[in-house]
Each structure stands twice: as structure tokens, then as C-alpha cells.
Symmetry: C2
Subunit: 218 residues, 2 copies
């Protein structure tokens, strides 16, 4: 029972910091998205595609979260987008205090959209508010259409679902309609995009929504 108490305290403290960060983002008119998914679902690839589409028209920045290595930050940096890497050294999710620390190393002038790429984990990051406006869960078709039912918290706590790797549907055991229905059973309000970072399909629709959302939230 003591463990549960401590965990509640951790979550409460996290939520307090997250509220302060959210306030800062609101004051500065920065639209913040928290990207969550299993390892390899395509968080970084979607960011790369998004930069290609929006670079020059929207001021963007990234906070990268990884258990180990700065491989993803290196990928992001190639696009000239400011990026701060958080290495959790085994930690299975990002917490609000890590975002607060990362912000000290990030110049927010001109930033209209901040992407937080969480640790690849479809369970733990669901519980931690990072002060974002929107949690975006990414699910790749190769993971199978049953995943929303098996990992419901992440789909319940997100407002957007990006289904990635739709180019692989012919080769894998995944029915896109079943996948979407399963996701909507858990969270009927989910906004769903279907994309392929390999072919670029669906990326313009996602980016159009992103730009519109950014404008309306400021």
C-alpha cells in the first residue's frame, strides 16, 4: 500500500508541474503535442514528414525523450528544427519536471508548435501529463488491430490517433476498419488520421489539421 501512496504523490507532483508548464505554453501561444507509441511505431518519422510539410510556415521545436542514445535528436537536427534530447537512462516515460528542465535549454522565441516525443512505451506514458495541449497516440498497422483494446489507457487519454504504415496493410494481419472501430470503442472522440511515412500518404491531411488547430488554439 505504501507504494501506491508514493505513486499517487509522484503523480500529484507531476500534475502540479504540468499545470504550470501548460500555463506557460498558453501565455506564449505555443501549441504542444505529446507523441506516444510503442517503440518503432513511427513517432520520429512522422515528425520528419511534418517538418518537410510545414518548415518555413510554422515555427517548430522538439523535445526528444529516449531511454538511451540521442539517435532521434540527430535525425531531427538534420531538418534544422531546434531539439533538446532527454535521456531517461532506463526511465520508461517522460515526466513534467524533465520537460521543465528541457525548456531551460530551448529558445522558445518564434516557436508556435512544440512536439514532445515520449519514450517508446504504450503503457506508462499514459499516466503522465506533460503540460501538452494534445496527446497524439501513434499505432502502426504492423502491431495488429487489437492493440487499442489491449492498451486502452493510452487511447482513452489521447485526443488524436495516427495510424502509421498503412502501406504495409497488404502484407500484415491488420484490418484498418477493425483497428479504427476498436480505437473508437475505447474513445469515441478520437480524431483519426491514416498515414504512411514511407509513401507520404495522409501526411498533408495531418498537417492541415495541425496548422488549423495551432491557429485556433492561439
Amino acid at each position: 500500500m505504501s507504494v501506491i501512496t508514493i505513486e499517487r504523490k509522484v503523480l500529484e507532483k507531476n500534475d502540479q508541474i504540468a499545470s504550470r508548464i501548460r500555463q506557460l505554453f498558453l501565455e506564449r501561444g505555443i501549441f504542444v503535442l505529446n507523441f506516444v507509441s510503442s517503440p518503432g511505431a513511427g513517432k520520429t518519422s512522422i515528425l520528419e514528414r511534418t517538418f518537410q510539410e510545414l518548415k518555413g510556415s510554422v515555427g517548430m521545436a522538439v523535445i526528444e525523450g529516449d531511454v538511451q542514445t540521442d539517435l532521434d535528436a540527430q535525425r531531427i537536427a538534420r531538418y534544422g528544427v531546434p531539439v533538446v534530447q532527454i535521456v531517461t537512462l532506463g526511465g520508461c516515460h517522460l515526466e513534467a519536471n524533465l520537460i521543465q528542465d528541457a525548456l531551460k535549454s530551448l529558445d522558445l522565441n518564434g516557436v508556435e508548435m512544440l512536439f514532445i516525443e515520449n519514450v517508446g512505451n504504450l503503457v506508462c506514458p499514459a499516466s503522465y501529463d506533460l503540460g501538452e495541449a494534445t496527446k497524439v497516440v501513434i499505432l502502426s498497422t504492423t502491431e495488429g488491430d487489437d492493440k487499442p483494446l489491449k492498451y486502452p489507457a493510452m487511447f482513452l487519454n489521447s485526443s488524436v490517433l495516427i495510424v502509421n504504415k498503412i502501406d504495409l496493410v497488404p502484407y500484415v494481419n491488420c484490418d484498418l476498419n477493425v483497428l479504427k472501430n476498436n480505437a473508437l470503442k475505447i474513445n469515441p472522440a478520437l480524431k483519426i488520421f491514416e498515414v504512411s511515412c514511407f509513401t507520404g500518404a495522409g501526411i498533408p491531411e495531418w498537417c492541415r489539421w495541425l496548422k488549423k488547430k495551432d491557429a485556433s488554439d492561439q
Copy 2:
């Protein structure tokens, strides 16, 4: 700091229970494998293929771990293999006390091989000993060849790596040699199998090793 202390205590208690369970398995000559991977990498599919190959020649049983639903246990039960489902209700990994509880519902008479299918999570289950003889990490090619470097603990703590979905290599951004080299950089002692649950490729080799290992461990 108190959180770290508590976590250490949790791990210590877990390890004590795991040692007791391991002793029980050794006494009964049961070879126990702890399957770990991201969601959708193919843990259940590899079990299904393994049952097809070994059914009738080896006494097998399964403990299924899931955050929610008994979908995987339903898949296993179709093969006539005894299965107990643990639903963690949000918990991100299995712990030894859950295995201890599950064993109360499992008749071990005639069981030579016990597969524990952990929660789909490439981070947290790395830290929890379940009394297994062997931790088997499954990585699908669709997750990308950089994952061993980004999630090193799981590859360091496993003795076997099954690379699944090799039939998809032509369609994804994954170099099998780079993947294997990255895994061996983290853990040079890893025994590696390359399989496709879709085509069945590599399954006989994996099952031959399994039978040989089972016989030598008893």
C-alpha cells in the same frame, strides 16, 4: 529519494519470490521462458507457431500477461495448451508474485516447458525476474534496426533474441545485419533466431533449439 528506496525494496522482494519460483521449476524439471517485446512484435504468434511445431512431443503451458483483455489467452486456448491469464489492469510489467498466484491455477503435471508472455513493453519488464530460465526478447523488423541501442536493458538481460517479421524486410527501413550487430554490441552472448510467423520461416530452427535446451536443462 524515498521513491528510489521503495523501488529497490520492491525489486528485492520480487527477486526473493522469483528465486523461490525458480527453485520450484528446477525441482520439477520445467524449462521456463519469459517472452518480452514491444506490443505487436509477435509474442503470441511465435507461441502459436511453436505449439504447431511441438504439440504432442513436449508438454507445454502458458502464463499470459496483459494490461487488459484475455484476447491472447483465447488465442492460446485454441491450441489445447493450458493457459492462465493475468490482467494487470494498467500495470506495465509482470512481477514474480503474480506468477506465484498464477501457478495456483495451473496444473504443472506433465508440463516440461512453461512460456510466460509478458506485457507488451520494451522497457519495464527488463527489471523484473520472474523465476524464468531464459528471457527471450522478440523484435520485429518493422520496429527498425536501431531498437537494441535505444532500449539496451532488455537486450542485455535476455539470452535469446528472436527477430520476427523477416518477410517484411523488403518493405521496411530495416537492415537485418545492422539490427543483429546492434543487438550483439549490447549483448555479445545473445543467441539470435530470424523468423516469420507469417511464412513459418525460421520456426523449425527455433523449435529445435528449444527442444534441445529443454532436454539439457532437466
